[in-house]
């Protein structure tokens, strides 16, 4: 049995107050648990997307590293590093936020990546071009993956918060309100019975007195 709220006076006013609070808590609990379920189903959907994307990115990345390694073997790694520094900047993303069930999640759009080579042909090899294209190809997926992972993180945080609230309502607040309600009802009933009995008793006493007076 849950504890009653401390310092509560067993009066009718308090009873009404607590009943109101109880209904509010129950409504809140229902809403929050619905929110939690919706968030979790959303989470499951995104996690599937993430799994597929992750595998794709990882295999593409592996491929790209191999090409880069081959280019380094042909040109030497300092030459590759030098060339890499000359490439134009494509790392600019349009970042906004998307609202999923009241949770803000990142939404990103990367600019169009040109399929052209920004460095000279003389000192570079075809392998380097291959590696560059593979990495460029990867960028879109990486941005998408970041978007999905960011969404998952924020959703997870929100789920945790909602879960905690649902549990607090379910296991602490609602039982406490119910116990307090019951306690006040018991006290009030008891008081009523006492009153009732007292009235009867007084009536009996008065009647006895009257009888005694009549008799004399």
């Amino acid at each position: 049995m849950a504890e009653i709220i401390e310092g509560v006076k067993p009066t009718r006013m308090q009873l009404l107050e607590i009943r109101k609070k109880k209904t509010l808590a129950k409504n809140g609990h229902k809403l929050l648990s619905e929110k939690r379920d919706a968030l979790i189903s959303q989470f499951f959907q995104i996690i599937d997307v993430r799994e597929n994307l992750r595998k794709k990115v990882e295999s593409k990345l592996k491929d790209a590293y191999t090409s880069l390694l081959e280019a380094e073997m042909i040109m030497g790694d300092t030459a590759v590093a030098d060339v890499a520094r000359q490439v134009k900047n494509y790392g600019e993303v349009e970042a906004t936020t998307l609202n999923i069930m009241g949770v803000l999640t990142p939404q990103m759009e990367i600019g169009e990546i040109e399929k052209k080579i920004d460095y000279g042909f003389l000192s570079t090899t075809a392998k380097l071009d291959e590696a560059a294209f593979k990495f460029r190809d990867l960028l879109k997926d990486i941005v998408k993956l970041a978007e999905v992972e960011g969404a998952l993180e924020n959703l997870a945080r929100e789920i945790e918060k909602t879960k905690r609230r649902v549990n607090a309502l379910e296991h602490i607040f609602i039982p406490r309100f119910e116990a307090t309600e019951k306690y006040i009802e018991l006290v009030l009933d008891e008081r009523e019975r006492e009153d009732f009995f007292r009235r009867k008793r007084i009536k009996a006493l008065l009647a006895a007195k009257e009888n005694a007076q009549k008799g004399s």
Partner: protein, 106 residues
């Protein structure tokens, strides 16, 4: 908003070739931590890409950052060139905490 890469030489070279100018090369995790600390203060970063060989060494720092940051930047951990399978996927921990069970399988 921009994408920032912090990583070992191969990662940095690769992403520079892809056209990301903000690539910081570093080989050891502590240096990476210093660089990340600086990135933390920039406010136009959308994605931070870091290889798992570095990030797994400074897991505490990254988790702390993740818990106090807002939506951006998103910290994305990618496999390194010499990636082995033993790296723990950080998403697993998140999933486990959120829904109570471990549904991501390796």
């Amino acid at each position: 908003m921009k994408i920032v890469v912090v990583g070992t030489r191969d990662v940095v070279n690769g992403f520079r070739l892809a056209g990301i100018k903000d690539a910081y090369e570093c080989e050891d995790p502590w240096k990476a931590k210093e660089i990340l600390q600086e990135i933390k203060d920039m406010n136009d970063v959308a994605i931070v890409i870091i290889p798992r060989t570095l990030s797994s060494e400074i897991r505490d720092f990254i988790n702390e950052w993740k818990s106090e940051k807002g939506i951006y930047p998103v910290i994305l951990e990618i496999p390194d060139k010499k990636e082995v399978e033993e790296f723990e996927d950080p998403m697993r921990e998140i999933v486990k905490r959120a829904i109570g069970i471990d549904i991501l399988k390796r």
